[in-house]
Symmetry: none
Subunit: 141 residues, 4 copies
């Protein structure tokens, strides 16, 4: 039998708030998704002006980061033509995201969930996702 | 060109809070989804203990209620065997929900979005969705 | 080798116009889809106020009617519990529609396409689809 | 509550007519799709000889352009190997189109919908989509 650490809805709220604040700061309305360590959605919000296409993309970035225990931008690097994971982007019906903006949420070395952000550039998405994680880790301390 | 009224993220927060409070009151952790009038997700939360299978069900109940401008339990009635809309439940890849718990959000006669709730019985889901709408309408007054 | 009769875009326009006029007459804004005899979409329109959920439903009613050479309400009858085609409604990923509003377009005994209508009651949808076919047949005469 | 501008079926007809005229001029029968600002289909037509595979492609180009508020050819540039959005093409079940031919429809700085064209080369598709937008903007003036 295993015991699993998993973020709860309160944690998801902290992640969302941290990401939302950063998105407001850089002036890019975002879609923000939080998944648990099983890849299942815990919370989502589309800020006013966030892109409709980014709803699924944010959820799938978070799904990928939490389920694969890997940042989506890392998949971006290893899935380039000629690289070892080339072609992975269309896996799982296209849910495996290799574009930056999905980050695993790690506590004491364990992945307890993920955050996925979409609507800006991949660099902006990743920045906003990281702000969510920073807020979460600060609240843990 | 048309001009459309649509709920924003602030409105979605009021709907979520009203539904969440009622879910806590009846002691059933729920998945709660808010969509805009185009059926696109605006906000979602899975309360701690909410069912994993209810993630999609809550989202699709809200999609149905906002997109079809009709409560999902009304579809339940008219889609019984022998009734006029029998068989509609599997439409749109199964996204068309005929189980209670999805309600359109109506302002001045216009559907501006929807709320979908899942994890309890259909009666509980509908009760919790209605509590979200009651909170929203109270905030509008 | 076979020679196939198939409605063209001009025919689709006649079907659309006939259906649209009837929808306006009964005051129900509809989604209207026209498919060819291969079940492939030729034309579609969502009247202002037509339901978002009805986009796919109208297309799939037309797909079913043209592809199966059968009105969707006929499937409704034979797919009731205990009837021979019970369970067919979820076939083809839910695309097989058994709710009224999809009609094959028949010329000289051959199915040359289909029309699918959605947003009203099944009786209204079927009435509007029939108006499209009536306009088409009148134009053929 | 938000107030949104959205193209209506009359606007869609102007977009379709402009695109159809240009497609006829260059002698390439096209699939042409119009979506609203929420990415939902408003109108579609497949000109006689338009490709069956282009039905979904045209619809998805329009969905992408309206939902992401970005021309699909712009996604083509930033999703090349080594570029920031590499791998986005398979997102949303493959609906996120990075091939030219999808353009947002912009009025006073707001995206009110999209147009997607497919059956020719991407350059032809984009040219025909632009002709639709030119006709629409001329009618607005």
């Amino acid at each position: 039998m295993m015991t699993i650490k998993r973020l709860d809805l309160g944690d998801a709220g902290v992640l969302l708030a941290g990401a939302r604040a950063r998105a407001a700061e850089i002036g890019v309305p975002m879609c923000i998704a939080i998944t648990d360590e099983g890849g299942n959605l815990v919370a989502f919000e589309r800020m006013d002006g966030g892109k409709v296409t980014s709803i699924t993309i944010a959820i799938d970035k978070s799904f990928t980061a939490s389920g694969a225990k890997k940042a989506t931008h890392e998949y971006g690097e290893v899935s380039q033509p000629g690289a070892p994971v080339y072609g992975i982007a269309s896996a799982i019906g296209g849910r495996l995201m290799v574009v930056g903006g999905g980050l695993p949420v790690v506590v004491d070395g364990d992945v307890v969930g993920g955050i996925g952000v979409s609507s800006g550039t991949p660099a902006q998405d990743r920045d906003v996702a990281q702000a969510g994680i920073d807020a979460f880790l600060a609240a843990q301390a």
